[in-house]
Every structure is written in C-alpha cells, then in structure tokens.
C-alpha cells in the first residue's frame, strides 16, 4: 500500500493543472444544455482535444495519452478543481466509446472515435422509450431489414435523450426480431439524427434548460456498417455500456470533492447565521466525498491489478447520486430563504439541486440499483 502519487503521476497532475489554469474559460460558459451553450461547449471540447486532454485514457492514435486509470482520476480531480465546463461530449466518450473499444470493428473505431473525441460529432444515447424506462427490455422501437439498401429501417420513439436536440448521432437499441424474448432480438444501432425519417423534439427539463429530446423515427435508414456488435446481440452489448454509466466513468470523485469544497466555502460565508445542526451536515458532505474518493482509489487499484467491475458498480451509483442530493440539500439549508433564487451569486445551488435530483433516477433508478446489490452482490433471491 502506497498512497502517495508517483513522480510520474505528480507530473501528470502538474501538467493538467497548469493547462487548465491557463485555459478554463472565465467567466463560466452558459449551460451546455441550451443551444447556445452547447455550441460554446463544443469549442471548449475542441481546445481540450487539440491539447490532448479530451480523452486522456484513449490510445494516442485517437487523440489520447494512454493514461492509466489512476491518471484519469487525477485529471478529473484537476478538471473539477479548476471549475472547468461540463463535458457535453460525455455520453459519447464515457458511454459509447467503451462499447466501441470492446465490440466495434476496426473500421468503426477508426471512423467514429476521432470525430467523437474532437467534438466534431456529438453523440446522444437512445435507451429510454415512453414505455421502457426502468424496464429497459420493454423496448418496442423496431428495425426492419432493408436488403436492397444494405441496412435497416428504424421506426419508433426514443425519449429523455439528453442533449438530443443538439447532437449529431444517437446510439441505442432497436428490436430486430419481434418473435424473440424480451432481452433477445435487440440490436445496437448507431443512428444519424440528420437522416430522413428522423424528427427531434426538444423537451424542457426541470431546471428550464432544453436538456432532453424526444426522437421520432419513421423508416429511417441505417447502413449495416452502423450496427454495433452483431444483429440480435444488442442487450449483451448495451449492458457493457450501462455498466460504465453506473460505475466510475460517469461520476469521478473530483466532481464531488469540488462540490464539497464549494459547500465549505458557502458555509464559511454563512456560518454566523447558520444553525449549528447544518454544520454537521457540511462536515458529513466533506467526509462522504472523501469516502467516495478512497473507495474509487481502492477499486481502481484492483482494476489496474487485473480485476473487473461487476454488480458492485451499483453501490457506486447509489453512493454518488445520493451524496450529490445530500450536499445540495445542505447548501439550500445554508441559503435559507434565499435558496429559492435562481438568479444572483448562489443560483448555482438551486440549479445544481435540480440536476442532483436526476441522479437517483437516470442510468437505472436507485430502487433498481438496490435490487441489483441485494440480488447480485449479496445473493438474495429474486422474487
């Protein structure tokens, strides 16, 4: 056990910190979940890519640095510490890319990954449907073979597609064998949102941003080369991605350490007027962020030594999503009657609170995650 960073890791941190300090936009960009903000965020993504900070853990050939998992964590700590912009490319980079690395052909990887890394092509996910939310296997959107065209015709509706109104392409599951069982007969498609037959309707999110979209497909054509991982293999392929979504790639500790640090700063500004009971909640927030950090280092060391993530990733999702809610709730308590304001200096907390509330819902509700922990980690019987 050695909990000091290596010289190499420290150098990596110093390089990241210096670049971020010099380049993070000030003042902060407008929300990336609005049309204007999204465009500004893509410019930032291009800067990251040009300096090879967009996808640090990827191979150099796709714009990465082949950073270790530990270095990736270090980069994330520095990224959030610097208050750098949200990653509007994250659904592609963190959810689709791992699946592409595992299941994609060399042609797909070469064609898709560089444009994803640079932000030239922005990806959104198309999992949910109106009647397939928590019950993902309830998908009814279908793909019918178009032998002549050398591809598939997709028809159906996807919903809660984050930033779908601004993205170029969508990845998701469609039913290719209507006769098969619920979890079978699904295929993982990469869909061009500009294709004929695709309509995207923005949906306003709780916090007022156009963060969501509904995507309607009617006989939209997808060529064979945009099938990922084999026809009727979609469930297996997708599960690899949802594992990433729940696990450490989506919510690195740096994010919560930065939030806890902001909470402490808020506390210091309001301490005089604060009921002492809230002080305890501030301390808990900081301690829990520490717990998240060290559990991550613990897990990452195991992964670097050859282990694999399993259903334990559900514990991670439960912890970060509920921690995020608790920290924001504490901030609102500190703000008291000013908590409701969505303008002015402290407005980020009410906005962040609303965003935090999505954490226990998306990527598998926390009720489902607790089932997974009970059944697959602890071995309790399914009903």
């Amino acid at each position: 056990m050695d909990l000091t960073f290596t010289e190499h890791e420290e150098a990596f941190r110093a390089e990241a910190r210096a670049w971020l300090e010099a380049n993070v936009p000030r003042p902060a960009l407008p929300s990336g979940d609005t049309r204007e903000g999204f465009a500004r965020h893509l410019e930032w993504e291009r800067m990251l890519f040009d300096a090879r900070w967009a996808v640090v853990s990827w191979p150099e050939v796709y714009g990465g640095r082949e950073a270790s998992l530990m270095e990736w964590l270090i980069f994330e700590e520095e990224y959030y510490r610097a208050g750098a912009p949200q990653r509007v490319t994250q659904n592609g980079i963190f959810l689709l890319a791992p699946t592409l690395f595992e299941f994609g052909t060399a042609e797909q990887q070469d064609r898709i990954l560089p444009r994803m890394a640079s932000g030239e092509e922005a990806w959104c996910q198309g999992w949910s449907e109106p009647n397939a939310g928590s019950d993902l296997a309830g998908i009814t959107s279908r793909a019918v073979r178009d032998e002549a065209g050398g591809g598939w015709r997709l028809t159906g509706q996807k919903t809660w597609t984050t930033r779908g109104a601004f993205c170029d392409r969508l990845f998701g599951l469609f039913r290719t064998d209507p006769e098969a069982d619920r979890h079978r007969g699904l295929t993982y498609f990469l869909v061009d949102l500009g294709a004929e037959g695709v309509t995207v309707r923005p949906v306003e999110r709780l916090d007022g941003d156009e963060g969501f979209a509904e995507v309607f497909l009617e006989d939209a054509f997808v060529p064979d080369r945009d099938v990922l991982g084999g026809v009727n293999e979609g469930w297996r392929v997708a599960m690899a991605t949802t594992g990433s979504e729940r696990g450490l790639t989506l919510r690195s500790p740096g994010r919560f350490m930065a939030t806890a640090a902001r909470l402490i700063d808020l506390y210091r500004r309001h301490a005089d007027a604060t009921d002492p009971a809230v002080r305890d909640a501030v301390i808990r927030g900081w301690m829990d962020a520490e717990a998240y950090r060290w559990q991550t280092f613990w897990t990452v060391t195991r992964l670097m030594e050859g282990g694999r993530t399993g259903p334990e990733s559900s514990l991670v999702k439960l912890f970060w999503s509920e921690l995020d809610v608790r920290i924001h709730a504490t901030a609102l308590e500190l703000l008291g009657p000013r908590a409701e304001l969505v303008d002015g200096d402290d407005a980020a907390w009410m906005k962040g609170w609303q965003f935090a509330l999505s954490g226990p819902i998306y990527a598998g509700t926390n009720e489902i995650q607790r089932n997974v922990v009970a059944e697959r980690v602890l071995g309790l019987p399914r009903r």
Partner: protein, 328 residues
C-alpha cells in the same frame, strides 16, 4: 378538548375548494409563470366570494371567522397551487393594516408582507415590513423594488430597499411577532395542501404507470416511499391546526406551536416532492408535465418564513434554554 372543525368551517372550506377546482386548474398555475404579473385569475373569484378580505377584523368579527378558518382555506390554496400572495395579504398584512390604520384599507388595496424578499410587490398598494422588531407599512412608491427570479416562476419576488423614515410605523415587537407567526402558519397550511396534492397525483401515477408488466405502485419500494409521505403528512397536519388555534387564541406558547408546525410542514412537503419525482422518474423531470409546478412551490415555501432548521432552532431556544423550574 375538542380538536375538530365546525360544520361551518368545513362547509366554507368545501366552497373554496369547489371554486379553486374551477378557477385554478393546473393550466392557470402554469400560465402564471409566463404572463405579465404572475396572476392566475382565480384571485378575482376569491375576492368576490369574500375570501380575500375575510381577515379584515370587521368582516371576521361579523362572520365569526378567525385564523382557524383561514388556515383551512390556505391549505386549499396550497393544494390547488394558487400563485397569488394570499398568505402575504389575507393572512398577514390585511388584519395588521386594518387594525392599526383602518382608513388605509380600500376595496382595491393589496398589501403584501415578507422579507428579505417580497412576492408580488409591484402589484401591491403597500408592503408590510419589519425592521428592528418594529412593523411598518411602506407605500409601494416609497420602496425600491428589484426583481429576483424564484425557482417557482409564478412567485414574482422582489428584493426591497426602504427606509423607516419613508414608512408608517404601525406596531411594535408583539405586532411584528404576530405578523411573522401568521405568515409562517399560513405557508405551513399551504405546504400541507401542496404535499397532499403531490401525494395524490403520485399515487395516481403509480397506479397507472406499468413497468415489468405491473403497475409500479405494486413494488414494495414505491409503496414504502409513498407510505412515508403519508406518514409525514398525517403527523404534520394536526400541528398546523393546533398552531392555528394558538394564533387565534393568542396562546402564550404560540410561537413554539407555529414553529413546530412550520418545521413539520416544510419537512412533509420536501419529502413529498422528493418522492413524487423519484416515483415519476424522467417524466417528472420535464416542465411539460405539471408535477414540477408543485415541487417548486414546495421548495420555495419550505424555505419561506423560516425553513425547518430555523424553526427547530427557535423551538430549541424555548424548550432547552429556559429554566426548567419555570416549566409546567
């Protein structure tokens, strides 16, 4: 000891409920987010019915109405999401102004109370404000109003700058304390109504929405979430009615009772909003669906007139920091 409402009080409550059901449907609440002044239109109907002016001492005296009856009505305004400042005007400012400067009250006057922000200040005739435990009436034109944005877009909030020298002093510490307690009690009642609406609509959704081939309300986790909401509401509601009684009777422990009620009502509504969103899932996370109107109202009112932590601290000073020998 008889802890229930009179038939008259309940009948009046039912009449207000009927009116709001007709005049204040969710679409009106939604419209109030985007129209000029945040008004739902239900106000005029309430005025005509006599609800808005009910707390004027002359009216209240003639009808035998007190804070108990008003509280029951405010609960309904919370349930229907009425955006207008009925707590600030009817529950707080009107009785204070009418008592101290009766000539200031006309048929069209609207008074709003508050602090540090005041809702609907630009629509008001005058503002009831406190400074250094004194209560003042401030003409709207004598105050500098700066619009502030609330997470609840129908609550038109304003920061107020004013000077006592440009205001009429209408009461001392006891009047200021009574005004504050009336405000906290009023939003506590509204929070109960908001929580009840959130519970009702979420139960309905959980019955109708199917996943995995069954209604989601048949999952034990969803059942227990909703049972917790019912639990909070069941034990907060009597505290609000008890506080109303204490305010109406000017009970010596009135402030402790109001704080106990407001803390429980804030918590009940906050939990109700949290569970409502979690059970609805993504559809509750859009502004196209009505749920958000009530969630945001819950967040705003839970913090207004002292949040739960503030009120618990006030109770604490009364029950922990006094000499035990003085107690009953």
């Amino acid at each position: 000891m008889r802890f229930s409402f009179t038939d008259d009080q309940l009948a009046f409550r039912d009449a207000v409920r009927d009116l709001l059901e007709k005049e204040c449907p969710p679409q009106r609440v939604r419209d109030a987010w985007t129209n000029v002044d945040g008004r739902s239109g239900a106000w005029d109907a309430l005025e005509e019915m006599g609800v808005v002016g009910l707390s004027h001492p002359e009216v209240a005296g003639a009808l035998g109405v007190d804070e108990i009856a008003v509280t029951l009505i405010l609960e309904e305004t919370g349930r229907f999401g009425l955006p207008e400042p009925i707590v600030e005007h009817t529950a707080v400012a009107l009785p204070a102004v009418a008592q101290h400067i009766p000539e200031a009250v006309t048929d069209t006057s609207l008074f709003v109370a508050g602090g540090p922000m005041v809702p609907y200040a630009t629509s008001a005739t005058a503002l009831l404000l406190e400074r250094d435990r004194q209560l003042y009436l401030v003409d709207r034109s004598a105050a500098t109003l700066t619009e502030r944005a609330s997470v609840d877009g129908s609550r038109r909030l304003y920061a107020v700058e004013w000077e006592p020298s440009n205001a009429v002093e209408i009461g001392g510490p006891e009047d200021a304390a009574l005004a504050f307690d009336r405000g906290a009690l009023g939003v506590a009642a509204q929070l109960i109504g908001v929580a009840q609406h959130l519970l009702d609509t979420t139960v309905e959704y959980a019955q109708a929405r199917h996943q995995f081939g069954v209604p989601i309300g048949s999952f034990q986790a969803v059942k227990h979430h909703l049972a917790n909401v019912a639990l909070g509401l069941e034990f907060a509601r009597p505290l609000v009615y008890r506080a109303a009684h204490s305010v109406a009777r000017r009970d010596l422990d009135r402030s402790v009772h109001v704080s106990t009620a407001k803390a429980h009502a804030s918590d009940a509504a906050t939990v109700a909003a949290r569970v409502a969103l979690q059970v609805h899932g993504a559809i509750g996370y859009t502004t196209e669906y009505d749920l958000h109107l009530w969630m945001k109202r819950a967040w705003a009112l839970a913090a207004a007139w002292g949040d739960a932590a503030w009120h618990r601290a006030r109770v604490g000073r009364a029950i922990l920091d006094t000499d035990p020998s003085e107690e009953q």
